[in-house]
């Protein structure tokens, strides 16, 4: 497959990824009860694949809702100012909410979403992210369930894209720098 030629190296292979997702789900299973009626909030597009696999391991009662947001800024640096393209279908007042993200980078987007959802009065609000890049953090943000900490490299696959490509790779890879610098 042509896409794989653009991958510099595999950072997290498929089996390691899946094993870790099962562990995260086990942590979530003991954090909530059926009575909590946990609501998973998936931030599109990146997190949909993670969500699909995470849910398969959840044994507690839960529901799913989606948000799609867009940064006003262009390019690969998030400005932190966020526009909501798709808001939640559900009212989250007094609900136990778990935000499901693919990656926390600067933290600005997640910080915005978290503050926005807090104003709606949820019973609890936690964050589950597959990947975190702590070296890139610009705002302090609490993440309750973290799959992997990754170095500051251009990661793709498993929902993460570059210009809409590579999302469907079943592993997390590092993109060759010549692909995104164009040289």
């Amino acid at each position: 497959m042509r896409l794989r030629d653009d991958v510099d190296r595999i950072l997290i292979p498929e089996d390691v990824l899946q094993a870790r997702i099962a562990e995260l789900a086990a942590e979530i299973n003991v954090t909530y009860t059926d009575e909590d009626r946990l609501l998973l909030v998936c931030v599109l597009k990146g997190a949909f694949m993670f969500l699909a696999d995470l849910m398969r391991h959840l044994e507690i009662r839960h529901e799913v809702d989606f948000m799609e947001i867009s940064s006003y800024g262009t390019g690969t640096v998030s400005s932190g100012v966020v526009r909501i393209l798709l808001d939640l279908a559900q009212n989250i007042e007094d609900r136990h909410v778990l935000i499901v993200e693919d990656i926390v980078d600067s933290g600005r987007t997640l910080d915005y979403i978290t503050r926005n959802l807090h104003t709606r009065g949820p019973a609890s609000l936690r964050v589950c992210t597959l990947l975190s890049k702590p070296s890139r953090r610009e705002v302090e943000i609490s993440t309750d369930f973290v799959g992997f900490e990754v170095p500051d490299e251009f990661v793709i696959g498993y929902g993460l894209d570059f210009a809409e490509e590579y999302r469907n790779l079943p592993f997390i890879g590092v993109l060759k720098s010549e692909v995104y610098t164009g040289s």
Binding site: V64, L85, E165
Partner: protein, 181 residues
């Protein structure tokens, strides 16, 4: 396997779903082997699990996009009127587009979507549906890739819900009729 009490029986188990999704992915990959601008458009919420599994098995380059729709008529009956909650991010004009949907029932939703998308003049438009209930059809809809035909029972799991419950069961199951009001 312990079934939730609202579930009557499993119609299609996890293994059967995985096999069929793989077969569909092989066919789609063969059909689009010469194209490099395929866009899969998943219909939220129901189709996202199917899409997550399908996209990983495709061997052709493609993009993924989502739309969210809502029926004006709440509940399980359809009047045919569909409201677009979130449109695609991609401009599909001139692109090869494939709608990915969890279930084809009366056909109103897909019929609406197909007409809407065709008006945007994509290079081609195909539809991939995991489940179809032919007994329920009220308008004709062309489907290019179909997972399973199922009887006219209320199904849940693998993306399909009843009042937002049972959506994430890994299999497709029939709900007990007395549960559905």
């Amino acid at each position: 396997m312990r079934l939730p009490s609202s579930i009557e029986r499993v119609l299609i188990d996890e293994e059967q779903i995985a096999e069929r999704v793989q077969e569909l992915a092989v066919r789609i990959s063969a059909d689009y082997t010469d194209e490099d601008d395929l866009v899969l458009v998943g219909v939220l919420k129901g189709a996202f699990i199917f899409l997550a599994d399908l996209t990983r098995r495709l061997r052709v380059i493609h993009h993924v996009d989502f739309i969210a729709l809502s029926s004006y008529n709440r509940g399980s009956s359809h009047t045919g009127a569909v409201r677009m909650i979130m449109d695609t991010r991609t401009n599909i004009t001139g692109r090869h587009v494939m709608i990915v949907e969890d279930i084809l029932d009366t056909g109103y939703t897909l019929n609406y979507l197909q007409r809407l998308f065709l008006a945007r003049q994509p290079a081609s438009l195909r539809t991939c549906v995991l489940l179809s209930k032919p007994d329920r059809r009220l308008v004709e809809v062309s489907v290019d890739y179909l997972g399973f035909e199922i009887p006219n029972v209320w199904v849940v799991g693998y993306g399909l819900d009843y009042a937002d419950r049972f959506r994430t069961l890994p299999y497709i199951a029939a709900l007990r009729p007395e549960v559905v009001r």
